[in-house]
Symmetry: C2
């Protein structure tokens, strides 16, 4: 069982180091191997997703990623920007199913900018399609037309692409509260009219799951108005990018939120929902819990080891209960710790 | 000075009736004429934007719209759905600049689901491009390809389309707090890379305005995390649809929020930001204030009558201070009124 570890940029190396310590402490005989992705890879090879990384990522059973990106690489040509590495590995490995939980931990309820009664107990799972849509659509580019620049991109989905992400979402809803809300913009976009049609066609296979539909503008509102109405949400790559970030920020503690990106055989890439936070990189203050919880998702989804996953998640809950907090979730009356101390606390709680 | 009044569907007729009373009370010699749009138009003519409406709307100096849509028309073919009427009139009149304020009235601070300190004093103006982008892009459709259905749409912008909406936004920022945040997804979409490039090129013409850029996923987060960081935001049609609805819901009182959609000569269509609320239609309980405030925007932008606009806005603030509330913004200790009584109160306060 081989795990490819991609520390990436910014706080990436610090937070993945703690997640690796946790994985090793489980003593499950994983083989871990590191490689470069994003800006770190550009610096060394000129390519944000270099051949050596590609080879290792393809061979491995799972990938653990820190985060990529930073101002240092912002002015490079498009193909060399760190996020190209991320988009490249997602597409290369066929990781079409992005699972992003937005969970509010009771101990961190104050961190939310929303009123406690609106978000307490929040537990949404956003299922975002990750290898299609306008992200990868051709034709695309910037051209000269009629004497001026013209920018264009193509949104598209085939029914089989929609069906396979639909099944992932229905299956996830079945294991939770059996409610699935599919988000589209069918009143304007034909692509998402097809999306809605295919979701409706799938529904009879899941009679135990209640399927509803919501337009994306309304979904953006409802997440603010009454987020607890949602159980599982499923949507395309572009809308999912926006709504999953909005949903995670409802908790106020995005430093706690993991994510999984799976292929058709549950091979997956696991990464925190937050970014590379270049402003605090190298200071030893970043919150490693989202990455540690991403490792727990890896144990659950790729290695099918629910017991080990639950063990890690329970340890994280315990350190919160013990009052340990990194700077991003600190409040008076708790104990402020750095990245490594937080890792120590989780190891102790295992 | 001719105003075309389009009551539309659901609560539309009730709320526009109150706005019309307010306009008439100003005694400014407007000629008002009514026509059909949306479902109401489909019912009578089979067309959501019928020829007679088109003629009147083109002749008029401004258009006042209630709202369109409702479940009654949801299963009609695409071309006959009410929202086609709305998209049709926007495109036909060249209304490329959609201005959507998100303002929290101090009296209604409790209505927000966000903590008071996060939203008190909120005053954002979202400038959304309204006649381009993936909304109107060709090619588009659903086809059979390789034996399965394939849905596709085209996002596109020309530099002149971006420049003209950019100017509207810079001008608006100049009249406010001189901060403009342009929202794009330049790390993925070439169309929005061009968007960012053109905004940057415009900036030297507005040295007094501070231009910043934000990715759309981050903007969706920042609106929840710290909405008061924004003054004016400018973005494309699709992202603007999502972000303006998210921003308006931050106030918790979307029944208070007007909007303006302007062409290059300040001819405009004015409508509340909320929808047609079919569930409460015909009951006389809908909040007419967003429509009345839309009429105020009409006085300001199309008729260049700042005094009359301010008079209407002051009257609305006064009725709030007097404690009058429709059901959507009611709380204990205030006086609950219906649509017509709210109109009466505004007329009295004028
Ligand atoms: C970095 C960027 C390309 C990426 C995306 O848009 O998918 C990120 O925002 C994410 O959500 O993982
Ligand atoms: C009804 C619909 C077509 C419309 C849009 O998406 O533009 C609406 O959501 C709006 O924002 O005015």
């Amino acid at each position: 069982m081989k795990i490819c570890v991609l520390p990436g940029d910014g706080i990436g190396p610090e937070i993945t180091a703690e997640a690796v310590r946790v994985i090793q402490a489980l003593d499950l005989k994983f083989e871990l191997e590191e490689a470069l992705l994003g800006g770190a890879a550009v610096d060394v090879t000129g390519d944000p997703y270099p051949e050596a990384t590609r080879k290792l990522a393809r061979e491995a059973d799972a990938v653990l990623l820190g985060a990529v990106g930073g101002p240092k690489w912002d002015n490079l040509p498009r193909e060399q920007r760190p996020e190209r590495g991320l988009l490249g590995i997602r597409k290369d490995l066929g990781l079409f199913a992005n699972l992003r939980p937005a969970i509010l931990y009771p101990e961190l309820a104050n961190a939310s900018t929303l009123k406690p009664e609106v978000v307490s107990g929040l537990d949404i799972l956003i299922v975002r399609e990750l290898t299609g849509d306008i992200y990868f659509g051709q034709p695309r580019g910037i051209e000269n037309r009629n004497g001026e620049r013209y920018g264009f991109n193509t949104m598209h989905y085939t029914e089989s692409e929609i069906r396979r992400i639909g099944r992932v979402a229905f299956d996830a809803a079945r294991k939770r509260n059996k409610r699935l809300c599919s988000v589209d913009k069918m009143n304007v976009l034909e692509t998402t009219q097809l999306w809605r049609d295919v979701m409706i066609e799938l529904a009879p296979e899941y009679p135990d799951v209640e399927l509803t539909h919501m337009l994306v503008d309304n979904a953006a509102m409802q997440l603010v108005r009454a987020p607890k109405q949602f159980d599982v949400m499923v949507t395309g790559n572009m809308f999912g990018d926006i709504l999953s970030d909005e949903a995670s920020m409802l908790t106020g503690s995005i430093g706690m939120l993991p994510s999984a990106s799976l292929d058709a055989n549950n091979k997956g890439l696991y990464e925190p929902s937050h970014g590379s936070a270049p402003d605090i990189a190298g200071k030893g203050v970043a919150n490693p819990l989202a990455t540690i919880l991403s490792a727990a998702m890896m144990l659950r989804y790729t290695f099918n080891n629910e017991a080990a996953a639950a063990r890690v998640e329970t340890a994280v809950k315990k350190v919160l209960a013990q009052g340990y907090r990194t700077g991003d979730i600190y409040e008076a009356g708790t104990t402020k710790v750095g990245t490594k101390q937080m890792g120590d606390a989780v190891l102790a709680a295992l």
